[in-house]
């Protein structure tokens, strides 16, 4: 359980800190720090186990069918990153307490930081690659929130969007790569993947997989040419930059390289891609950093350059290079975090970050200056500091590679050049800021910052020194454990020491320092040269690309989705026509072998009436009332057809639904125009006629082909088991309430939802009640005819009796819940028509929503009830009883289910019609129940 708690605690911390808005700043900070400190203690307590070579794992099954688990793992590499994420995270939170002004919301920043911390911990501790990807995307999102913390500033918003677009895009590539990887190995489990090196590298898709995963890693760790988002992300508050761009966000990409090193590295493709990308980034970053006047800009490009260095080390084919890469991860995190924090102090105290203005800070803040200078010296690789050690190892390893064949000597030379530039920009950071004359019109008078603001920097700088002087005592264990994890069990003999004697790497360091200082002193010429170069604005290119993409998409959307329902439907019908019509042409014969039945007079008359009704509906569609009357003829004939063709249940249902539908449409017509205007052009009418005729022909032909062919049905099963298994002789009803009861349950839910939706749509409807009919005659004042009122009233009990009878006999004879419900509804609708909704409301206080809900609940609980008898959901129970005077009767649980159906149907139907009907009365709504 311990492993899960580490990310869980930081997530908890995120929630806690988001709720500290009412507390003082100190209290808020203390509460926020609580959970990461506990998590760090946990991680430290686990360290001895990891150092002994063990790998801790924890798995919770999540979606076993897809091979996705919630799985955590802690090995040396993960432990190293956990230390960095938690350790530097704690320092950053402490620092942010003093950095933020009183105007800024502290809980917001803390909550985002902790969320980001959770995501990072999730990445480094995941043992399932899909889960790893999930946390990967979470870092993109939470870093978006962090960068846009000062959302009022346009540059913060733009920087955040750019970071999200680039890293999110890389994330998609990574997902594709990971899915491929999972497919190749046959498992998403990291442990399995790390052991399947041969399978992966022999696979035909290895290159594609590798490139996709590398795309994810390179975008995240700002490798050239995806580096451009990082400088723009500097719009974030400095604590955020210190966290994201030293130890975490950008290191996630590096982590990915290290994590998959045992499985993916070792091939030429890997070494060429990784080392060349790293080398380019290293040189490019170091060069550009020198020319940045913004302090954070300089640090941003320096970060890019150092990330390139680490990537290059992963791309060099020696085991020691990997060790050096891991070592530099640690060192870069410590000195870069402290430098960012120092920059934050300078920004905080002077009000600017422009190095052309900030000069001579040594006099104003000697203490901070000392700390910053030590950290910058570590960045330059000065002896006695940690940066020196890893840089020495780096130089040594560049000498031991054959990446470029006979031209491999280029790499150590270029590495030295990059080293020289690193010295130059570090020198600029130190000299320009702390010396170099007097400050030039600063917005604020600088002084030393609050005492506590320096503590995190002091801790980090002390670490730089300690690692630099006593490397074997301070970092040996963790470096060993991490290398063990990355190299898959074999760690080469290596010696991290301050003094290796006079050798080539030392010479390279010497050249780099000397050349760097020369470059710095002669920088005027370089600056002039740089100014004469045409500038390539990555942001502009990015913005223009995004803009043109969005514009292209918008145009496409507008041209496809123009708001015309007719057009969408026309396209859909055309598709149907093509896809349904095409196979007909490939069929040899339309008519099947089945014996045709002769046409009798009744059928011919019925069909004739139906056709006349249908055609008349179309012909008079402009006069809507006539059209509605005509369609009711069609509906009636359809129910007659069901009667004729041995479907009494259907006929009853169709008949009652027909009544309800026509009443509803009549009511609706009251609120709509009485006529459809002549709008369609002749060409359009012709087109529509063509499509509709075509579809009619196609559907009719398919129907004919279907009818004339013999078939086998699964219905024999239902016929055979209806009585014995379901206890009813009306097979249709038994199917509804028993065999396919689950479907029916779903369907009554849909009915209820539709009714509720209608109720909701009609709330606060701006009314358009016409006072006259279409020909200008005012509506009759006598709204409710007396004759209808009196007849309907006496009909009600009779109708209820009939529906009760139909309901009861449903299981054995045509009838059942649906039909009985509809009959009851019709009986009530008649009352509404005859008396108006106010009259009903005075006499009947029912809340239809509750009725619908209770109906569905009854049906559902009948289904659940069978669980109590150890049966599957919705198993029917029935038994025969002998009751005196009445005789032998059957009781079945299906009847209760059918009752639920009945109640839902009544409730929904009445709710629909009453909701609409009550709108015709202008009286206050609360009198009327719906």
């Amino acid at each position: 359980m311990t492993l899960l708690w580490i990310p869980l605690l930081s997530l908890l911390g995120s929630i806690i800190s988001s709720m500290t808005g009412k507390l003082t700043r100190n209290q808020s900070t203390r509460l926020t720090l609580l959970t990461p400190i506990i998590a760090l203690i946990m991680a430290i307590s686990l360290a001895p186990t990891i150092f002994s070579g063990e790998v801790l794992q924890e798995t919770f099954s999540w979606i076993p069918l897809l091979g996705i688990d919630i799985a955590f793992r802690l090995d040396g590499l993960a432990l190293l990153f956990v230390f960095m994420i938690l350790g530097i995270g704690i320092l950053v939170i402490f620092y942010a307490r003093y950095y933020l002004s009183t105007k800024d919301s502290m809980p917001k920043l803390f909550a985002y930081l902790m969320l980001f911390m959770t995501a990072m911990l999730g990445i480094v501790m995941s043992n399932n690659i899909i889960q790893l990807w999930f946390f990967w995307e979470l870092t993109s999102i939470s870093s978006f929130l962090l960068i846009s913390y000062w959302w009022q500033k346009a540059e913060a918003r733009n920087g955040a969007i750019m970071a999200l677009a680039v890293t999110g895009g890389g994330g998609l590539a990574l997902l594709a790569g990971l899915l491929l990887l999972g497919n190749i190995v046959g498992s998403y489990d990291l442990g399995v993947i790390l052991e399947s090196k041969e399978v992966i590298q022999a696979h035909a898709w290895y290159e594609v997989t590798l490139i996709l995963i590398l795309l994810g890693a390179f975008t995240k760790s700002a490798q050239f040419p995806f580096h451009f988002w990082l400088p723009h992300a500097m719009a974030a508050p400095t604590p955020v930059s210190a966290y994201l761009h030293s130890a975490t966000m950008v290191k996630a990409g590096i982590f990915l390289l290290a994590r998959f090193y045992p499985a993916l590295a070792g091939t030429d493709t890997w070494f060429i891609l990784v080392s060349l990308t790293g080398l380019t980034t290293l040189l490019f970053g170091a060069y550009v950093a020198l020319f940045k006047h913004d302090l954070k800009g300089l640090l941003a490009y320096s970060t890019i350059s150092h990330l390139g260095l680490i990537t290059l080390l992963f791309g060099i084919d020696t085991k020691l290079a990997t060790v050096a890469a891991i070592f530099h991860i640690i060192n870069h995190a410590t000195f870069k975090a402290s430098l960012f924090m120092a920059t934050g102090i300078i920004d905080h105290e002077t009000g600017t970050r422009d190095m052309r203005k900030i000069n001579g800070m040594w006099r104003y803040m000697p203490y901070t200056a000392t700390l910053a200078m030590v950290a910058a010296a570590a960045m330059a690789g000065v002896p006695l500091l940690n940066g020196f050690l890893s840089k020495e190892m780096f130089f040594a390893e560049t000498l031991h590679q054959q990446l470029l064949g006979s031209m491999s000597w280029l790499i150590p030379v270029l590495a030295t050049v990059a080293g020289a530039f690193a010295v130059a920009y570090s020198a600029r950071f130190i000299h320009d800021v702390f010396f170099n004359g007097d400050p030039i019109d600063l917005p604020r008078q600088p002084s030393e910052p609050p005492r506590y603001m320096r503590i995190p920097i002091e801790i980090l700088v002390a670490l730089c020194l300690l690692v630099g002087i006593f490397p074997n005592i301070v970092v040996h264990d963790i470096l060993d454990a991490a290398s063990f994890a990355v190299l898959g069990g074999f760690v080469p003999e290596y010696q991290v020491a301050l003094w290796h004697g006079f050798n080539l790497p030392l010479l390279m360091s010497g050249i780099a320092v000397t050349a760097g200082l020369i470059i710095y002193t002669q920088r005027r010429y370089l600056f002039q040269f740089q100014a004469s170069l045409p500038s390539l604005n990555a942001k502009k290119i990015f913005d223009e690309t995004i803009y043109s993409m969005v514009k292209w998409c918008q145009q496409k959307v507008i041209s496809i989705e123009n708001g015309s329902l007719q057009r969408y439907l026309m396209l859909m019908f055309l598709m149907v026509l093509i896809f349904a019509g095409w196979p007909l042409f490939e069929m040899s014969q339309l008519i099947g072998q089945k014996q045709a039945t002769p046409i009798d007079v009744h059928n011919a008359v019925g069909a004739g009436l139906l056709m006349i009704g249908a055609v008349s509906t179309v012909i008079w569609y402009r006069i809507r009332v006539v059209s509605l009357l005509m369609i009711s003829v069609v509906g009636l004939m359809v129910s007659v057809a069901f009667t004729r063709f041995s479907a009494p249940d259907l006929a009853l249902t169709q008949l009652t639904v027909e009544v309800v539908t026509i009443v509803l449409l009549m009511l609706a017509l009251f609120f709509l125009p009485q006529h459809s205007p002549r709008e369609s052009s002749s060409a359009r009418v012709l087109r529509d006629l063509g499509i509709s005729t075509g579809l009619g022909v196609v559907v009719g032909s398919i129907c004919y082909a279907l009818l004339t062919r013999p078939f086998d049905s699964i219905s024999d099963f239902f016929l055979a088991n209806a009585k014995t298994g379901g206890g009813g002789t009306n097979v249709v009803n038994v199917i509804l309430v028993d065999f396919r009861g689950f479907d029916t349950l779903g369907e009554i839910c849909v009915l209820g939802i539709a009714a509720l939706g209608i109720y909701k749509v009609l709330i606060n409807l701006p009314l358009l009640i016409p006072t006259k009919d279409s020909e200008g005659r005012p509506w009759a004042k006598e709204r409710y005819p007396v004759l209808l009122a009196s007849i309907s009233q006496s009909l009600l009990p009779l109708a209820l009796l009939v529906s009760f009878y139909i309901f009861l006999r449903g299981h054995n004879l045509p009838g059942g819940g649906f039909i009985a419900g509809l009959i009851t509804a019709v009986a009530f609708i008649l009352q509404y028509i005859a008396h108006g909704s106010i009259w009903i409301a005075e006499r009947l206080t029912i809340n239809y929503r509750k009725i619908v809900a209770s109906g569905i609940l009854i049906a559902l609980s009948t289904g659940v009830g069978s669980w109590f008898f150890d049966r599957a959901f919705m198993t029917t129970w029935f038994e025969y009883f002998d009751i005196p005077f009445i005789g032998k009767i059957e009781l079945a649980s299906a009847l209760v289910f059918d009752l639920g159906v009945y109640i839902t149907v009544v409730g929904s139907t009445l709710m629909i019609l009453a909701s609409l009907g009550q709108l015709t009365t202008n009286d206050s709504k609360d009198k009327v129940n719906v």
Binding site: N562, Y621, A754
Partner: protein, 127 residues
């Protein structure tokens, strides 16, 4: 008889589709209703046509296929619910937008303005 039945289904489809392709809500609703008749008849016919063979046990020796009947029965009820929803949506749309045109463009600008005024009047009357 099969031919007659199939022609009826085909005709209903044609009429339904033609109405659905009109540009006002009410004909579209009528078209949908007609179309659903056709669909129900079509589905029903997949059990083939049979006379006097209702699927009630003990009333005849051979039975019509009960499965399509059960499916169509619920389809009819659901169809009603959907028709109701669409027609209420049409009323709401008319009330909110002032037109029952669903063709994406408001050709009849005059009627649009008129109904706008009506809405305002109504609001005033309510207030």
């Amino acid at each position: 008889m099969e031919l007659l039945y199939a022609s009826c289904v085909g005709l209903l489809v044609s009429c339904g589709v033609f109405l659905i392709l009109r540009s006002r809500t009410f004909p579209v609703v009528l078209g949908l209703t007609m179309f659903s008749y056709a669909v129900n008849l079509f589905l029903f016919s997949s059990g083939r046509l049979s006379l006097n063979k209702a699927a009630v046990l003990g009333y005849s020796s051979e039975y019509a296929d009960p499965l399509p009947q059960a499916l169509v029965l619920t389809a009819i009820v659901i169809g009603f619910a959907m028709t109701a929803f669409v027609v209420i949506l049409a009323i709401r749309g008319r009330a909110d937008l002032g037109t029952d045109n669903v063709d994406g463009q408001i050709l009849d600008k005059k009627s649009h303005k008129k109904s706008d005024k009506k809405i305002k009047k109504n609001k005033k009357a309510k207030a």
